[in-house]
C-alpha cells in the first residue's frame, strides 16, 4: 500500500484552474521530486495534500485514510504530515528548542523531557547543539531552515513535504540544507519535494514528476526524465532551465 495516493485532485482559484486532475502515488521510503515552471501548481499540490487548501474535486489518501473526507479530523491528518516551507516560518517568539518540540508536546502528547531529549540529539548531530536556547533571528538562513526541518521530522511524520526549501537561501548555505535532506532519505523518510535545484533532484530523487499547467505531464526515474524525456513540454522546460 502506498503512503500517499492523490486521485484526480482539482483546485481552482476564482476562474483559474490551478490543478486539473492530478494523480500521484508515493510508496514508503520513496523520494519524489516535483519539477515544473513557476505557476505550474507544485506548491498548490503540496498545500492541498497538507489540507491547507481544500480540494475542489478528487481524493487524497494517506496510508489508507481518505483525509479529504469531511468527517476526517484535519488537525490529526496534518499532524501526520511534516511540512517545510520556502521561508522557514519558524516562530520568532519561541526559542529554537521550543519551536522544534512544540508539536510533539502540544499535539502528540510527548512529555517535555522526551521531546527535548530527541530534539537535542538531532540538533547536536547537526552541529546546532549550541543554538537550542537562541531565538530564530540569531541563526543564519541555513541554520533556520535546518531547524525547520528538524521541527517537521521530530515526530516521525508518515510523509514529508518540502516546498523549495533552498530558494530563499544564499548559495553557500544551500549545501548544508541539502545534506540534511540526503540524510533523511538515507534514514528512510518518505518525501515529496518541489525544487528548482535540478542537479540535486537528479541525485536524490527515486522519481521525478514534471508538472505543467496543473497537470502531471511526465514522470519517471531521473535518468528517464533528464536524459530522454518523451513529452515535448518536458523537453522544452528542461532546455530552458539548463541553457
Amino acid at each position: 500500500m502506498s503512503v500517499l495516493d492523490v486521485r484526480g485532485v482539482r483546485k481552482q482559484f476564482d476562474d483559474h484552474e490551478v490543478l486539473r486532475g492530478v494523480d500521484l502515488s508515493i510508496d514508503k521510503h520513496e523520494v519524489v521530486v516535483l519539477i515544473g515552471a513557476s505557476g505550474s501548481g507544485k506548491s498548490t499540490l503540496l498545500r492541498t495534500i497538507n489540507l491547507i487548501e481544500r480540494v475542489d474535486d478528487g481524493q487524497i489518501v494517506l496510508n489508507g485514510d481518505d483525509i479529504t473526507d469531511p468527517g476526517m479530523n484535519a488537525d490529526s491528518a496534518r499532524s501526520r504530515i511534516g511540512v517545510v516551507f520556502q521561508h522557514f516560518n519558524l516562530f520568532p517568539h519561541l526559542r529554537v528548542i521550543d519551536n522544534i518540540t512544540l508539536a510533539a508536546r502540544e499535539v502528540h502528547g510527548m512529555s517535555k523531557a522526551d521531546a527535548t531529549a530527541r530534539a537535542m540529539e538531532l540538533l547536536v548531530s547537526l552541529g546546532l547543539g549550541d543554538k537550542a536556547r537562541d531565538y530564530p533571528d540569531r541563526l543564519s538562513g541555513g541554520q533556520q531552515q535546518r531547524v525547520a526541518i528538524i521541527r517537521a521530522v521530530l515526530t516521525d511524520p508518515e510523509l514529508l513535504l518540502l516546498d523549495e526549501i533552498t530558494s530563499a537561501l544564499d548559495p553557500q548555505l544551500v549545501g548544508e540544507v541539502l545534506d540534511l535532506v540526503r540524510r533523511l532519505k538515507t534514514d528512510g523518510s518518505t518525501i515529496l519535494m518541489a525544487t528548482h535545484e535540478m542537479s540535486f533532484a537528479r541525485e536524490v530523487a527515486d522519481r521525478i514528476v514534471f508538472m505543467q499547467g496543473g497537470r502531471i505531464v511526465e514522470q519517471g526515474t531521473p535518468a528517464q526524465i533528464f536524459d530522454s524525456p518523451q513529452e515535448p513540454e518536458t523537453v522544452q522546460f528542461l532546455s530552458r532551465v539548463r541553457h
Binding site: F85, N89, L102, E106
Partner: protein, 288 residues
C-alpha cells in the same frame, strides 16, 4: 542587538579620536544652549503668570500650603481605593478584552452570531463616553433589583472593565492581524488546532506588536479611575472634593492631581522607554 556598547578590542585610531572629540564638543554646545533656553523660557512664563492681575487670589485659593498639607492623608486613603479599582479592572480588561478580540477573529459561518455580537459590543462601548457608562452601570444595574447590594466601587470597576475592554480588544485584534498569515499556516501544518494556534502562536506575537498601545490604554485608565467618584465612592477625587467643601479652598484638587500624576508617571516613562526600545530593535541605521 546590533548596537553594542561593549568595549572594542582595538585601540581607536587618531582619526576616530579626533572625530569623537569634535562630536563631543558639538554635543556639549547643544546641551548648553538647550539648558540656557529652557531656563530663560521658564523664567519668562513664570514672570508673566506672577504678574497677572488675578495671580494673588489664584495663589491663595489653589496653592495654599497649609490646606494642601492637611488634605494629603485623606486623599492618599482615597487614592488607595483608586489603586485597588485600577488593579482589578486591569485584570478584568485583560481577560475580557482578549475574549472579545478572539471572538472577533473567529472564522466561519457558525460563529457569525458571536462575531456580530462582539463587533456590536466594541462599536458601542468605544463610542460611549465613560461617564455615561458609569451612570448607566452604577445607577441602572442596581435599580434592577436582581443583584445583591454592592458598593459603588464595585459598579465603578464593572463600568471601567466594560469600556476599556472594548478599546483593548481593538488594539489586540490589530496586533493579531499584523501577525503574518504564514505563522498561522506553519502552526496549523504542525497539527495545532485553531485554539492552540491562537494561544501559542498568534496572541503572543500579536500582543508584542501592540505593547506600547496597550500601555497607553493603561495610562489613560489610571486617570479615568478617578471618575468612579461620581458614583459616590470615596476615592482620591471625592476625598479632595470633601476637603474643598470644608476649607473653601481648591488646593486639595491640586494635591489630588499631583498624586494622580505621580501614580501614572512611572508607567508613562516605561511606555516611552519601551516604545523607543522596540523602535530601535526594528530599525538599522541608528544615525538617521
Amino acid at each position: 542587538m546590533s548596537t553594542s556598547t561593549s568595549r572594542p578590542s582595538w585601540r581607536p585610531s587618531e582619526l576616530e579620536l579626533s572625530r569623537r572629540d569634535v562630536r563631543r564638543r558639538a554635543t556639549g554646545r547643544s546641551v548648553l544652549i538647550g539648558i540656557v533656553s529652557t531656563i530663560a523660557f521658564a523664567a519668562i512664563v513664570g514672570l508673566l503668570v506672577v504678574n497677572t492681575p488675578g495671580w494673588e487670589s489664584v495663589k491663595a485659593s489653589f496653592f495654599d500650603f497649609e490646606v494642601g498639607a492637611a488634605s494629603v492623608p485623606s486623599i492618599l486613603v482615597g487614592l488607595w481605593l483608586n489603586i485597588q479599582v485600577l488593579f482589578i479592572s486591569a485584570i478584568g480588561v485583560a481577560i475580557f478584552g482578549t475574549l472579545l478580540a478572539v471572538t472577533r477573529s473567529l472564522r466561519g459561518p457558525v460563529f457569525f452570531p458571536l462575531r456580530a455580537a462582539a463587533t456590536i459590543y466594541t462599536d458601542l462601548f468605544r463610542g460611549m463616553p465613560l461617564l455615561i457608562v458609569l451612570y448607566l452601570v452604577g445607577f441602572g444595574l442596581p435599580a434592577l433589583d436582581i443583584f445583591p447590594r454592592m458598593p459603588a466601587m464595585f459598579w465603578g470597576t464593572i463600568a471601567l472593565i466594560l469600556t476599556y475592554s472594548a478599546y483593548v480588544a481593538e488594539v489586540l485584534r490589530a496586533g493579531m492581524e499584523a501577525v503574518h498569515p504564514s505563522q498561522r499556516m506553519a502552526a496549523r501544518s504542525l497539527g495545532l488546532s485553531h485554539a492552540k494556534t491562537l494561544r501559542i502562536v498568534v496572541i503572543p506575537q500579536g500582543v508584542r506588536k501592540v505593547v506600547p498601545a496597550l500601555m497607553n490604554d493603561f495610562v489613560s485608565m489610571q486617570k479615568d479611575v478617578g471618575l468612579i467618584s461620581i458614583l459616590g465612592a470615596v476615592d482620591a477625587v471625592r476625598a479632595a472634593q470633601i476637603q474643598v467643601a470644608q476649607s473653601y479652598n481648591f488646593t486639595p484638587y491640586v494635591i489630588a492631581a499631583l498624586l494622580f500624576v505621580a501614580m501614572s508617571w512611572p508607567m508613562i516613562r516605561l511606555t516611552d522607554w519601551l516604545t523607543a526600545r522596540l523602535a530601535k530593535r526594528e530599525q538599522i541605521g541608528g544615525v538617521v
